[in-house]
Amino acid sequence: MAKRYDINSALLRDLPLINGSHSSAVGQPKAHTQSPSVSGTAVIGVAFKGGIVLAADTVGSYGTLCKLRTIPRLLRVNKSTVLAMSGDYADFQYIEQLIAKKTMQDFCSDDGYEWTPKSLHSWLTRILYNARSKFDPLWNSYVVGGLEDGVPYLGGLTMLGISYTAPYMATGFGRFIAQPFLADQLEKNPEMDEAAAREVAIHSLRLLYYRNRESSNKYQLTVVTKDGSVLEPIKEFEGVWDTALMIRGYD
């Protein structure tokens, strides 16, 4: 199996290798997820005037195999906060549990204090940075979205605990395929409304569908506006493959 966590550090190089991956022998760092199995590919986030939209397809890839075709990679946290994930699905489920636990504690406090996109973004950054600092990173990129005091908030986060905010987001392969398109669209139309933002997000998925072997045409959207957050049902779009014939080597 390929070594996924391969940096030129003496510390890591000196770790004993068992079955091709780094061991979690006594006295050594744990190494649960240094070779992710089921993973999700790119997610898209777009902020518009009065809200945000997150989009992701629903594939769980096992290597290059499209093993799971319908798994949700979006999470509705509360009425103002949603989350999109790409990367290892098991690590996402672990994060889901952590969030659910914290949400339950907040609920039991009954003090009206709950997640906001900013606080979730910050907290996830600590979780991921802490994990990577133990040389056992959670193999995910996240996009946190929602309304922070009524203002659209879109936060990105990598598996190394690097976090940033931007009016548009794409993770994984989407950074190469969708990000330039999103940048272009937001430059042309900086005051996007919800309909335009949805269109842009879905078109980004379409761009990925044509180019990214791990993606699919089955997708899900979540939208946060002042009226609350909605995790929409899974939908499909039709691929148009007419142009494929024009690609040299396609047939």
Binding site: S109, D111, G112, Y113, T116, K118, S119, H121, S122, W123, R126
Partner: protein, 294 residues
């Protein structure tokens, strides 16, 4: 040394169903100089009387900033207050680090309450000898919270603790609607100063040296006012006539030499080993080992 056979240990009940050590700790709060707190719809204010051991020394700090959104006024043992303050600052800082936003006051006080409660139940050690008036502003608006050595905490509209604080509470009860509906922070602070003035001895008058004031509120980070600002606020209040002279206070339940001096006749220096231990260091200087200066 002990007043009765049931106060050796915090965990021992008296036949009357009382925990004497905890009650003594509550008395320690009354030894400290007075602190007043109150709030209106948008802000909370805390004001305190500072003490100095001599003309040549500085005044003991009474108000501590915890975070941008909260702070405390203390009455009792300053050393204990500093320990609690340190804990509160750490809690707030950790919360900010994790969530990038201020810690809600109810949760902050909850953690402090848990910490303080332990000291009222384990036989080693002692309860904290300090009372706090915490002011803060969070997602639920302004707060004023009283915290006792018994680890009880109460959300208040107006409150006062410390020496002769009953006079201030009388003022706070009488003028409740006025300060709750105060339209400006200045009005709120002036109410606090009036309440605090009622705790002062007859020969004392408000002054910026003697008084410490802090405010927190909506779009207003916790701020201890500078002396000049305090002086300006005081200048209005001192022109007003003082409340009727209080009847002489009867003694507290504790040793006379631990008591606040009510008048100008300071008692002679207490005997060593009673409550103020006098230590002589190698250079022949003396220093008070213990003095409830807060």
């Amino acid at each position: 040394m002990f007043r009765n056979q049931y106060d050796n240990d915090v965990t021992v009940w008296s036949p009357q169903g009382r925990l004497h050590q905890i009650e003594y700790a509550m008395e320690a709060v009354k030894q400290g100089s007075a602190v007043v707190g109150m709030k209106n719809a948008t802000h909370a204010v805390v004001a305190a009387v500072k003490r100095t051991p001599s003309e040549l020394a500085s005044y003991q700090k009474k108000i501590f900033a915890i975070d941008e959104h909260c702070g405390v006024g203390i009455a009792g043992l300053t050393a204990d207050a500093r320990n609690i303050n340190n804990f509160l600052q750490t809690e707030c800082l950790n919360h900010r680090y994790a969530f990038s936003r201020p810690m809600p006051l109810n949760r902050l006080v909850g953690t402090l309450g848990n910490k303080m409660q332990v000291t009222t139940q384990q036989e080693s050690g002692r309860p904290y000898g300090v009372g706090l008036l915490m002011i803060g502003f969070d997602h639920k608006g302004p707060h004023l919270i009283q915290i006792d050595p018994s680890a009880n905490h109460y959300e208040c509209k107006g409150m006062s603790i410390g020496a002769r604080s009953q006079s201030a509470r009388t003022y706070l009860e009488k003028h409740l609607d006025e300060y709750l509906g105060a339209q400006s922070v200045e009005d709120l602070v002036r109410h606090a100063l009036r309440a605090l003035r009622d705790t002062l001895a007859n020969d004392q008058e408000l002054s910026s040296k003697l008084i410490s004031v802090a405010v927190v509120g909506k779009d207003h980070p916790f701020q201890v006012y500078d002396d000049e600002v305090v002086q300006e606020l005081i200048s209005v209040v001192v022109k007003e006539p003082r409340a009727a002279v209080r009847p002489a206070q009867s003694g507290f339940a504790l040793d006379a030499d631990l008591m606040e001096d009510d008048d100008t006749n300071r008692p002679p220096p207490p005997e060593p080993g009673v409550s103020v231990a006098t230590a002589v260091d190698q250079h022949g200087r003396t220093e008070a080992g213990y003095s409830p200066s807060g």
